[in-house]
Amino acid sequence: MLVRLIRAYLRPYTRTINVIVLLQLVQTLATLYLPTLNADIIDDGVVKGDTGYILVVGGQMVAVTLVQIVCAVGAVYFGARTAMALGRDIRADVFDRVQSFSAREMGRFGAPSLITRTTNDVQQVQMLCLMSFTLMVSAPIMCVGGIAMALNQDVPLSGLLLLIVPVLGITVTLIVRRMRPLFRDVQERIDTVNRVLREQITGIRVIRAFVRDGHERKRFTGANTALMDVSLRAGRLMSLMFPTVMLVVNLSSVAVVWAGGHRIDSGGMQIGALTAFISYLMQILTSVMMATFMFMMVPRAEVCAERVQEVLDTGTSVVPPLRPVAPLASADGGRGLLELRGVEFRYPGAEEPVLRDVSLTAHPGRTTAVIGSTGSGKSTLLGLVPRLFDATDGSVRLDGVDVRDLDPAVMTRSIGLVPQKPYLFSGTVASNLRYGKPDASDEELWQALETAQARDFVEAMEGGLEAPIAQGGSNVSGGQRQRLAIARALVLRPSVYLFDDSFSALDYATDARLRAALADETGNATVVIVAQRVSTIRGADRIVVLDEGRVVGSGTHGELMTGNQTYREIVLSQLTEQEAA
């Protein structure tokens, strides 16, 4: 998963990566060349007592060092650029993908999880990449280069490498292979421990109320012990790593001196090569260690990559139309005739559908209300109109066009939704009101506020229209939020208004005033109201009663009161018999 993700996103930067590899190659070779020069100093300078030669070669060494740093800096430069670009590109794709999601996919992942995936998880992958460019690329070069340089010094002595390198490689591979699943475990168990703690803190009242402290403590200690167990196992394996690698290398240097001594004795090798050889051994060791450290970062990044890839692999269930259709009357936003025909909505794999065989027509200039219990599918039904979901069967039509074929631009202009949770964006009152219609004049805004019964409190706010709104609208009360959300839809002047239980946070008096003002404002538009309060909807032209995803009745308040048992139950639960009459 990790490799697939990184490979796919690095493709546009192939050339830069080649440059990085080249720079790392030169840089590494320069580093590797130094011991060879040092050997020259010993063999041709020291042994022969040629001071001048020592200084000349010393100068060469300085030059090589300069080449090394220039290349190293270059590698860091391009490495950082490419890794950051990779992060940027993945982030952008994830963001675009999430934006294309329907409410169904949003619900499946959950907004918080998607936020983590777009930010933190991408960051992890990006960090791994950066480390790879600076460390991992140079490690194998260093290893191979070290071996090559050793061969260059003395071929027979290098025979020792045939023994040393495999031993080192096998040791490290064995340890790393066992370590990877352990690290994964550690990560998972840390997440478990933190999750338990998070639940304990957020659920503290419930835990105390249900006297579950003991249970929670056991649960936590269990998770904590599991974490310690696996951390200890990982730690022990870890502590095996360093001493073992050190031992192999140190023993090798002993072997090199012994074997090298014999080579020198037989006249096959010069003394300087011995020192150089040990230096190369050290370098090979360093590269192996670096590679190992990299491997430790991998499991974590792997999990992150999987989570990111999951988002990228998820298609939206609401596909934009291939050939968008704009209804004839769409120039002024259409008339707003809304029809549902035999609509079914079912979550994939669910035992029962949320909506089944729902048919209804909402006419322009009329108010259609939908009432029903929690889970009866009211909100889902509204969501089908602006295509937050797509029906799994049947069709939703706006002015005679299936919404799945409707030009998204026309759709946006035609529909004003006030959601159940009146979310506001950070900015100002005005920026929120203009959300659907960026070029609305202040006058239009005030008028919408007036209708939404929000004028008074906005005027009282410091800055009026320009008063700041915090993220989510947390600096205004629930009722104010709801009225601003209503005003936001009003500014749009759409042909279809969808109110999803949008009056619940208002007291009865404000609710009544608002609805009266709304009636004047919405005029010829189609109004669909989902509500739980009977008083909110009893004046509607038509009331549709939903129960367990089915339409069980429709008509005016009076008609339903006499003819519909479900409706009567709802009404009577809220009003006394004599009030309802």
Binding site: L34, I42, V46, V47, I54, L55, V57, T65, I69, V76, M84, R88, Q99, M106, G107, R108, G110, S113, T119, D191, N194, R195, Q200, I201, I204, R205, A209, F210, V211, F220, N224, T225, M228, G235, L240, P243, T244, L247, V254, V257, D265, T275, I278, M290, M296, Y347, E351, V354, T374, G375, M411, I415, L417, F425, S426, Y435, D507, R538, S573, L575
Partner: protein
């Protein structure tokens, strides 16, 4: 993830990474570095014996390791002596040979040979070389073994300490009064209990033994270098201040870049958070393009800032390598000259080269760990603050009341205040007979929730007392008191588990049938069956796969199943629509028989059926009685009723 912009969930790479100049976190300065650092080390106290053993093992192991190159160098000297010796005429003494060289004009070589231990005419003495190498072999084997033991033991010490710290924090959380969680934001407490401890674990794991090893190595290597050649040692020492200077210089430049990177990250995350949370609105209002444009611009800025931060801080590593290489060159040249002049043996130069390699590495490590230690101690400080917070009064031992209670509840002149000077509830008296339903009504901030919190002893009364069947609640262990009370709260807390597990939360060992029965009684069953996995549907952490109303229903089912003597419903049904509420009320009515119930609700239908209605205003009960009686009294309740519930009558349509 940090949740907030999602608190960046930093998991550990449980191992030491190479030079951590990657700038994972903005460094937080701690308030009292010394005190907190000492206390953090104190967390290791139960293992202090072992910790000292670790230190001792580490010292021995490093001493041995440090001796290695010197011994190897000696072997090289022997080899070199052998080569040189072979070239000298056999039978002559060393002095004669040196003289001979000098006469031949090879002055420099003569100097060198003079300082060597050669026997002219004799080749390499492999016996001696072998002995020396065996010594080196022994040194390395023992050093590695000790190192291995040391590392294992150190891991144990750190893991145990962190385990204990987590346990301490968890137990502390259970002893903290609820008021603590009201004053501190939950996210803040959470962050201390999770992120900060993670950070401490990482810091201890990665730095404790490494810093020790690095410092010891530094000292050992330096000692060896001075022993071999004070001149070369001084040459190597020059690199220390240079390294430090470069590291701090570059670090200082990188710091503002990191700040910039975190700032832009924060801004981008905020935008992402808003767009994802308001996803439906973005779609319906057709603002995808604008949102994408803002994202693109911020993302681009982050790219630039991130690049600058990573590039500048990334320079440290090559710079250090560069200094190391320069040092190497210096040692090679100066060493070469010294050997040529006979002041130094060739084996010593070889050893020195190895030493100088070993020297720069721990230096870089210590420098890069300074940041980590800083942030680790800052985290420790935040955890200690949590551990030092004032606890609630301890519970008396053992049960004091009867196993089952009737549910007679008395509030006797109860007063409560959060802050000493602002009383919240004063002189509240109330008597509830077993089986009665009490509806508590009143405007926001009237103290309705506080009343219930006092009953549950989430808060302790400041004056007066609350009795349960005549027993003072304050003398009962909290657990005993709460076991008699079932509660449905305003915030619908569910834990990450299946729906079935959540319903059974208050009733350990409940059968599946009992769970389904409770679910049916509270209308959870119907929507559970529309979910793909039914009762086995896992509710994720945010509970985003069930709606608010559904969550509330589950919490009601939970209280239903636990079957307590007293029920507390805290606006529980406010986000369930009225029709479902009626059905629940039917279920609740049967549940309520023989149980004392306190209901905080705004709905008329809930209130009307209550035996007693308490009307609260600013912490006092201003009226008490049945619906009809209170309406007839034309007091506060009648006004409230007219304002909130009577509107449908006033507005005939």
């Amino acid at each position: 993830m940090s949740t907030s912009s999602p608190a960046p969930r930093r998991g550990p790479a449980p191992a030491a990474g190479p030079g951590r100049f990657m700038g994972g976190q903005p460094v937080e300065r701690s308030m009292d570095f010394r005190g907190s650092g000492r206390r953090l080390l104190g967390a290791l106290r139960p293992e202090r014996g072992i910790a000292f053993a670790v230190l001792a093992l580490c010292t021995v192991s490093i001493t041995l390791t440090v001796l290695g190159p010197k011994v190897l160098g000696h072997a090289t000297d022997l080899i070199f002596a052998g080569i040189v010796g072979r070239q000298l005429p056999e039978g002559a003494t060393k002095a004669e040979a040196v003289q001979h060289l000098r006469d031949g004009g090879q002055g420099t070589v003569a100097d060198m040979v003079a300082s060597m231990n050669v026997t002219p005419g004799q080749g390499i003495d492999f016996g001696a070389v072998g002995t020396v190498l065996l010594w080196a072999l022994g040194l390395y084997v023992v050093a590695s073994l000790l190192n291995l033991i040391q590392a294992r033991v150190a891991t144990n010490v750190v893991q145990r300490a962190v385990f204990r710290m987590r346990e301490d924090v968890e137990q502390k959380l259970a002893r903290l009064p609820l008021s603590y969680f009201d004053k501190q934001s939950r996210g803040e407490v959470l962050s201390r209990a999770t992120n900060d401890i993670d950070n401490i674990q990482q810091t201890l794991q990665q730095t404790l033994s490494q810093i020790m090893a690095s410092l010891l190595t530094l000292v050992g290597v330096l000692a060896m270098m001075f022993w071999i050649s004070p001149l070369l040692a001084l040459v190597a020492l020059v690199t220390v201040p240079v390294s430090v200077l470069v590291a701090t210089r570059v670090g200082k430049r990188a710091q503002p870049q990191f700040v910039q990177q975190w700032k832009t990250t924060g801004r981008l995350n905020a935008h992402i958070e808003e767009m994802y949370t308001g996803h439906a609105l973005v779609k319906v209002f057709g603002r995808e393009r604008e949102s994408a444009e803002i994202f693109r611009a911020q993302n681009e800025k982050l790219y630039e800032a991130g690049f600058r931060a990573q590039f500048i801080s990334g320079l440290i590593q090559p710079a250090m390598t560069f200094i190391g290489n320069l040092n190497y060159v210096l040692v090679a040249v100066v060493g070469g000259l010294r050997v040529a002049s006979g002041a130094l043996s060739i084996g010593d130069v070889q050893a020195f080269v190895q030493y100088s390699r070993q020297f720069s590495q721990p230096l870089t490590q210590v420098a890069s760990m300074a940041n980590m230690v800083q942030s680790g101690v800052a985290s420790a400080e935040r955890v200690f603050e949590l551990l030092d917070a004032e606890e609630q009064t301890p519970d008396p031992e053992g049960p004091v009341g009867p196993r089952t209670v009737l549910g007679q509840v008395e509030f006797e002149d109860v007063s409560f205040r959060y802050q000493p000077d602002t009383p919240l509830i004063e002189g509240l008296s109330l008597s509830v007979s077993p089986g009665q339903t009490v509806a508590i009504v009143g405007p926001t901030g009237a103290g309705k929730t506080t009343l219930v919190n006092l009953l549950m002893r989430f808060y302790e009364v400041s004056g007066g007392r609350i009795t349960l069947d005549g027993v003072d609640a304050a003398t009962m262990p909290r657990e005993e008191l709460r076991s008699h009370i079932g509660m449905v709260l305003q915030d619908t807390w569910l834990f990450g588990g299946t729906i079935a597990e959540n319903i059974a939360y208050g009733s350990e060992g409940a059968s599946h049938e009992a769970i389904v029965e409770a679910a049916k009684a509270t209308h959870v069953d119907r929507f559970v069956r529309t979910l793909p996995d039914g009762y086995d549907t896992v509710i994720d952490e945010e509970g985003s796969n069930v709606s608010v109303g559904e969550k509330q229903l589950i919490t009601i089912a939970r209280a239903f199943l636990s079957g307590p003597s007293i029920l507390v419903l805290d606006e529980a049904t406010s986000s369930v629509d009225t029709r479902t509420e009626v059905l629940i009320q039917h279920a609740m009515a049967s549940l309520r028989t023989g149980r004392t119930s306190f209901v905080i609700a705004h709905r008329l239908s809930t209130i009307r059926d209550a035996d007693v209605i308490l009307v609260m205003e600013s912490g006092r009960i201003v009226e008490q009685g049945s619906h009809d009686a209170l309406v007839a009294a034309e007091g506060a309740y009648a006004r409230l009723y007219a304002a909130q519930f009577a509107e449908p009558v006033a507005e005939p349509e």
